[in-house]
Protein backbone atom coordinates (compact mmCIF):
# COMPACT_ATOMS: atom_id res chain seq x y z
CA UNK A 1 0.00 0.00 0.00
CA UNK A 2 1.34 3.43 -0.90
CA UNK A 3 2.30 5.46 2.17
CA UNK A 4 0.87 8.98 2.16
CA UNK A 5 1.74 12.03 4.22
CA UNK A 6 -1.84 11.99 5.56
CA UNK A 7 -1.43 8.48 6.92
CA UNK A 8 1.66 9.35 8.97
CA UNK A 9 1.10 10.27 12.61
CA UNK A 10 3.41 12.11 14.97
CA UNK A 11 4.51 9.73 17.68
CA UNK A 12 4.39 6.64 15.45
CA UNK A 13 7.38 4.33 15.49
CA UNK A 14 8.96 2.99 12.33
CA UNK A 15 10.00 -0.64 11.98
CA UNK A 16 13.19 -1.56 13.82
CA UNK A 17 16.22 -2.77 11.91
CA UNK A 18 18.59 -5.11 13.76
CA UNK A 19 22.19 -5.64 12.69
CA UNK A 20 24.83 -7.86 14.24
CA UNK A 21 27.83 -7.27 11.99
CA UNK A 22 30.75 -9.66 12.29
CA UNK A 23 34.19 -8.83 10.95
CA UNK A 24 33.18 -10.20 7.54
CA UNK A 25 30.31 -7.71 7.25
CA UNK A 26 32.65 -4.89 8.28
CA UNK A 27 35.03 -6.02 5.53
CA UNK A 28 32.16 -5.85 3.03
CA UNK A 29 31.35 -2.37 4.32
CA UNK A 30 35.01 -1.34 4.05
CA UNK A 31 34.98 -2.47 0.42
CA UNK A 32 31.69 -0.71 -0.31
CA UNK A 33 32.60 2.55 1.40
CA UNK A 34 36.33 2.67 0.66
CA UNK A 35 37.09 3.00 4.39
CA UNK A 36 39.84 0.46 4.98
CA UNK A 37 40.83 1.92 8.36
CA UNK A 38 42.43 -1.07 10.16
CA UNK A 39 40.59 0.02 13.32
CA UNK A 40 37.57 -1.74 11.81
CA UNK A 41 39.11 -5.08 10.82
CA UNK A 42 42.62 -5.50 12.29
CA UNK A 43 42.85 -6.45 15.97
CA UNK A 44 46.61 -5.78 15.86
CA UNK A 45 46.31 -2.18 14.70
CA UNK A 46 47.69 0.12 17.48
CA UNK A 47 44.40 2.03 17.87
CA UNK A 48 42.46 -1.29 18.06
CA UNK A 49 44.85 -2.53 20.75
CA UNK A 50 44.47 0.69 22.69
CA UNK A 51 40.67 0.41 22.59
CA UNK A 52 40.79 -3.34 23.27
CA UNK A 53 38.94 -4.36 20.12
CA UNK A 54 38.19 -3.40 16.57
CA UNK A 55 35.12 -1.18 16.39
CA UNK A 56 32.24 -0.84 13.95
CA UNK A 57 32.69 2.05 11.48
CA UNK A 58 30.72 5.06 12.65
CA UNK A 59 29.70 5.49 9.03
CA UNK A 60 28.31 1.95 9.00
CA UNK A 61 25.89 2.99 11.74
CA UNK A 62 25.03 6.16 9.82
CA UNK A 63 24.31 4.01 6.77
CA UNK A 64 22.15 1.70 8.90
CA UNK A 65 20.10 4.71 10.06
CA UNK A 66 19.71 5.47 6.36
CA UNK A 67 18.61 1.90 5.59
CA UNK A 68 16.06 2.02 8.43
CA UNK A 69 14.56 5.24 7.02
CA UNK A 70 14.72 3.89 3.46
CA UNK A 71 12.87 0.71 4.46
CA UNK A 72 10.11 2.78 6.09
CA UNK A 73 9.92 5.33 3.26
CA UNK A 74 9.98 2.58 0.59
CA UNK A 75 10.74 5.10 -2.20
CA UNK A 76 7.44 6.94 -1.54
CA UNK A 77 9.49 10.09 -1.14
CA UNK A 78 13.04 11.34 -0.72
CA UNK A 79 15.35 11.91 2.21
CA UNK A 80 16.15 15.63 2.43
CA UNK A 81 18.49 15.51 5.41
CA UNK A 82 19.91 12.79 7.61
CA UNK A 83 22.20 13.46 10.54
CA UNK A 84 23.88 11.51 13.29
CA UNK A 85 26.44 11.81 16.05
CA UNK A 86 28.68 9.01 17.28
CA UNK A 87 28.26 9.00 21.03
CA UNK A 88 29.46 5.49 21.74
CA UNK A 89 31.49 2.76 20.15
CA UNK A 90 29.91 -0.40 18.84
CA UNK A 91 31.73 -3.68 18.55
CA UNK A 92 31.49 -6.60 16.10
CA UNK A 93 29.19 -9.55 16.83
CA UNK A 94 26.99 -7.42 19.08
CA UNK A 95 23.49 -6.26 18.25
CA UNK A 96 22.95 -2.79 16.85
CA UNK A 97 19.25 -1.99 16.93
CA UNK A 98 18.05 0.88 14.77
CA UNK A 99 14.81 2.59 15.81
CA UNK A 100 12.86 5.64 14.71
CA UNK A 101 9.94 7.81 15.78
CA UNK A 102 7.94 10.35 13.78
CA UNK A 103 8.34 13.62 15.67
CA UNK A 104 6.83 16.18 13.32
CA UNK A 105 4.90 16.52 10.07
CA UNK A 106 4.24 19.76 8.20
CA UNK A 107 3.92 21.30 4.76
CA UNK A 108 6.26 23.96 3.44
CA UNK A 109 6.63 25.50 -0.04
CA UNK A 110 4.39 22.80 -1.49
CA UNK A 111 6.40 19.95 0.06
CA UNK A 112 4.92 17.37 2.43
CA UNK A 113 7.56 16.94 5.10
CA UNK A 114 8.13 14.56 7.99
CA UNK A 115 10.86 14.68 10.61
CA UNK A 116 12.00 11.58 12.47
CA UNK A 117 14.27 10.86 15.41
CA UNK A 118 16.37 7.85 14.45
CA UNK A 119 19.00 6.15 16.54
CA UNK A 120 20.92 2.96 17.16
CA UNK A 121 20.96 1.19 20.51
CA UNK A 122 23.38 -1.48 21.63
CA UNK A 123 22.29 -4.68 23.35
CA UNK A 124 22.45 -2.90 26.74
CA UNK A 125 19.86 -0.42 25.53
CA UNK A 126 22.38 2.43 25.35
CA UNK A 127 21.93 4.89 22.48
CA UNK A 128 25.26 5.02 20.66
CA UNK A 129 24.23 6.87 17.50
CA UNK A 130 21.46 9.46 17.89
CA UNK A 131 20.24 11.06 14.69
CA UNK A 132 17.44 12.78 12.80
CA UNK A 133 16.03 12.57 9.30
CA UNK A 134 13.72 14.83 7.31
CA UNK A 135 11.89 13.33 4.35
CA UNK A 136 9.50 14.69 1.75
CA UNK A 137 6.60 12.48 0.65
CA UNK A 138 5.45 12.15 -2.97
CA UNK A 139 1.79 11.75 -1.94
Amino acid sequence: MTMTWESIKEGDSISELVKKPGVSQLVKYAAGSGDFNPLHHDYNFPQSKEIGSIIVHGRFKYAVLGECVSNWLDHQGRIKTITCQYRGMDFPDQEIICKGTIIRKWQEKGEKLVELDVWTENSDGKTTTPGKATVSLKN
Binding site: K19, P21, Q25, K28, Y29, A30, A31, G32, S33, G34, D35, F36, N37, P38, Q47, E50, H57, G58, R59, F60, Y62, A63, V64, L65, G66, E67, V69, S70, N71, H75, R78, I79, K80, T81, I82, T83, C84, Q85, Y86, K138
Partner: protein, 163 residues
Protein backbone atom coordinates in the same frame (compact mmCIF):
# COMPACT_ATOMS: atom_id res chain seq x y z
CA UNK B 1 46.11 10.56 23.98
CA UNK B 2 47.20 14.19 24.26
CA UNK B 3 48.14 15.40 27.75
CA UNK B 4 47.45 18.94 26.76
CA UNK B 5 46.81 20.59 23.45
CA UNK B 6 46.13 24.10 22.22
CA UNK B 7 44.87 25.43 18.90
CA UNK B 8 47.75 27.53 17.57
CA UNK B 9 47.30 30.68 15.50
CA UNK B 10 48.61 28.78 12.49
CA UNK B 11 45.95 26.07 12.98
CA UNK B 12 43.22 28.67 13.50
CA UNK B 13 44.18 30.32 10.22
CA UNK B 14 43.18 27.12 8.40
CA UNK B 15 39.49 27.76 9.08
CA UNK B 16 38.10 28.59 5.65
CA UNK B 17 40.68 26.43 3.82
CA UNK B 18 39.27 24.69 0.74
CA UNK B 19 40.57 21.61 -1.06
CA UNK B 20 40.99 21.25 -4.78
CA UNK B 21 38.02 19.39 -6.31
CA UNK B 22 38.10 15.59 -6.46
CA UNK B 23 35.92 13.18 -8.39
CA UNK B 24 33.62 10.70 -6.67
CA UNK B 25 32.14 8.11 -9.01
CA UNK B 26 28.68 6.61 -8.59
CA UNK B 27 28.47 3.45 -10.67
CA UNK B 28 26.12 0.48 -10.65
CA UNK B 29 28.91 -1.64 -9.16
CA UNK B 30 29.72 0.90 -6.49
CA UNK B 31 26.05 1.37 -5.49
CA UNK B 32 25.60 -2.41 -5.24
CA UNK B 33 28.86 -2.74 -3.28
CA UNK B 34 27.79 -0.08 -0.76
CA UNK B 35 24.31 -1.57 -0.42
CA UNK B 36 25.87 -5.01 0.08
CA UNK B 37 28.30 -3.59 2.62
CA UNK B 38 25.46 -2.23 4.74
CA UNK B 39 23.34 -5.35 4.25
CA UNK B 40 20.45 -3.88 2.24
CA UNK B 41 17.97 -6.43 0.91
CA UNK B 42 15.84 -3.85 -0.97
CA UNK B 43 16.19 -4.85 -4.63
CA UNK B 44 15.77 -1.23 -5.78
CA UNK B 45 19.45 -0.69 -4.90
CA UNK B 46 20.58 -3.72 -6.92
CA UNK B 47 18.12 -4.22 -9.82
CA UNK B 48 18.02 -1.49 -12.48
CA UNK B 49 14.50 -2.37 -13.64
CA UNK B 50 13.17 -2.17 -10.07
CA UNK B 51 14.97 1.15 -9.63
CA UNK B 52 13.29 2.57 -12.73
CA UNK B 53 9.88 1.25 -11.63
CA UNK B 54 10.45 3.10 -8.34
CA UNK B 55 10.99 6.33 -10.27
CA UNK B 56 14.79 6.62 -10.41
CA UNK B 57 16.95 7.16 -13.51
CA UNK B 58 19.16 4.21 -12.48
CA UNK B 59 20.23 2.48 -9.24
CA UNK B 60 19.81 5.15 -6.52
CA UNK B 61 22.71 5.86 -4.19
CA UNK B 62 21.70 4.48 -0.78
CA UNK B 63 21.30 7.12 1.94
CA UNK B 64 24.72 8.41 3.11
CA UNK B 65 26.50 7.04 0.02
CA UNK B 66 27.98 9.94 -1.96
CA UNK B 67 30.09 8.04 -4.45
CA UNK B 68 33.54 6.47 -4.27
CA UNK B 69 36.57 8.73 -4.54
CA UNK B 70 38.89 7.95 -7.43
CA UNK B 71 41.87 6.17 -5.89
CA UNK B 72 45.44 6.93 -7.04
CA UNK B 73 48.14 4.69 -5.48
CA UNK B 74 50.93 6.69 -3.87
CA UNK B 75 48.74 9.80 -3.73
CA UNK B 76 45.51 8.73 -2.05
CA UNK B 77 45.54 7.83 1.67
CA UNK B 78 46.65 4.27 2.25
CA UNK B 79 43.43 3.21 3.99
CA UNK B 80 41.06 6.14 4.62
CA UNK B 81 38.58 7.12 1.90
CA UNK B 82 39.82 10.75 2.01
CA UNK B 83 41.13 11.86 -1.40
CA UNK B 84 44.64 13.34 -1.76
CA UNK B 85 44.74 16.95 -0.63
CA UNK B 86 41.44 16.68 1.27
CA UNK B 87 42.98 17.09 4.72
CA UNK B 88 43.94 20.59 5.78
CA UNK B 89 47.55 20.57 7.02
CA UNK B 90 46.83 21.39 10.65
CA UNK B 91 50.09 19.97 12.07
CA UNK B 92 48.31 19.05 15.29
CA UNK B 93 50.39 15.86 15.83
CA UNK B 94 47.46 14.10 17.44
CA UNK B 95 47.58 10.41 16.58
CA UNK B 96 44.10 9.19 17.43
CA UNK B 97 41.18 9.75 15.06
CA UNK B 98 37.48 9.19 15.63
CA UNK B 99 34.50 10.18 13.53
CA UNK B 100 32.29 12.61 15.45
CA UNK B 101 29.22 12.70 13.24
CA UNK B 102 27.74 13.86 9.98
CA UNK B 103 24.82 15.76 8.50
CA UNK B 104 23.89 15.18 4.87
CA UNK B 105 21.52 17.45 2.97
CA UNK B 106 20.25 16.31 -0.42
CA UNK B 107 19.10 18.65 -3.18
CA UNK B 108 18.63 16.06 -5.92
CA UNK B 109 18.64 12.32 -6.58
CA UNK B 110 22.04 10.70 -6.92
CA UNK B 111 22.09 7.60 -9.14
CA UNK B 112 24.48 5.19 -10.79
CA UNK B 113 26.03 6.95 -13.78
CA UNK B 114 26.53 10.22 -11.90
CA UNK B 115 30.00 11.67 -11.59
CA UNK B 116 30.25 13.92 -8.54
CA UNK B 117 32.91 16.54 -7.95
CA UNK B 118 33.56 17.29 -4.31
CA UNK B 119 35.25 20.21 -2.59
CA UNK B 120 36.01 20.08 1.13
CA UNK B 121 36.10 23.21 3.27
CA UNK B 122 37.26 23.51 6.89
CA UNK B 123 34.53 25.40 8.72
CA UNK B 124 35.57 25.27 12.38
CA UNK B 125 38.21 24.10 14.86
CA UNK B 126 37.30 23.53 18.48
CA UNK B 127 39.24 22.20 21.45
CA UNK B 128 37.40 20.16 24.07
CA UNK B 129 38.30 17.87 26.94
CA UNK B 130 36.84 14.62 28.19
CA UNK B 131 37.79 12.03 30.78
CA UNK B 132 38.18 9.35 28.13
CA UNK B 133 40.16 11.26 25.52
CA UNK B 134 41.86 14.09 27.42
CA UNK B 135 42.23 17.21 25.29
CA UNK B 136 40.86 16.68 21.81
CA UNK B 137 40.41 18.67 18.61
CA UNK B 138 37.15 18.75 16.64
CA UNK B 139 37.65 19.62 12.98
CA UNK B 140 34.38 20.55 11.25
CA UNK B 141 34.19 20.40 7.47
CA UNK B 142 31.63 20.94 4.73
CA UNK B 143 31.84 18.73 1.64
CA UNK B 144 29.93 20.04 -1.38
CA UNK B 145 29.05 17.54 -4.12
CA UNK B 146 28.25 18.76 -7.63
CA UNK B 147 27.12 16.44 -10.40
CA UNK B 148 28.08 16.27 -14.08
CA UNK B 149 25.35 18.82 -14.87
CA UNK B 150 27.05 21.29 -12.52
CA UNK B 151 24.20 20.97 -10.03
CA UNK B 152 24.91 20.82 -6.27
CA UNK B 153 23.32 17.51 -5.31
CA UNK B 154 24.41 17.19 -1.69
CA UNK B 155 26.30 18.89 1.09
CA UNK B 156 27.73 16.88 3.96
CA UNK B 157 28.94 18.49 7.19
CA UNK B 158 31.27 16.30 9.20
CA UNK B 159 33.17 16.36 12.46
CA UNK B 160 36.50 14.59 12.87
CA UNK B 161 37.90 14.13 16.38
CA UNK B 162 41.67 14.07 16.83
CA UNK B 163 43.07 13.07 20.22
Amino acid sequence: MADSFEISEEMASMVGWESEPWIFEVSRSSVRAFARGVGYTDRVYYDVEKAKEAGYMDLPAPPTYLGTAIFIPGESHEFLPTPPGFNPDLKHNLKGLLDGGAETTYFSDICAGDELTCVRKTTNLEKKNSKGLGDFLIVSSDLTYTNQHKKVVAVQSTQAIFY
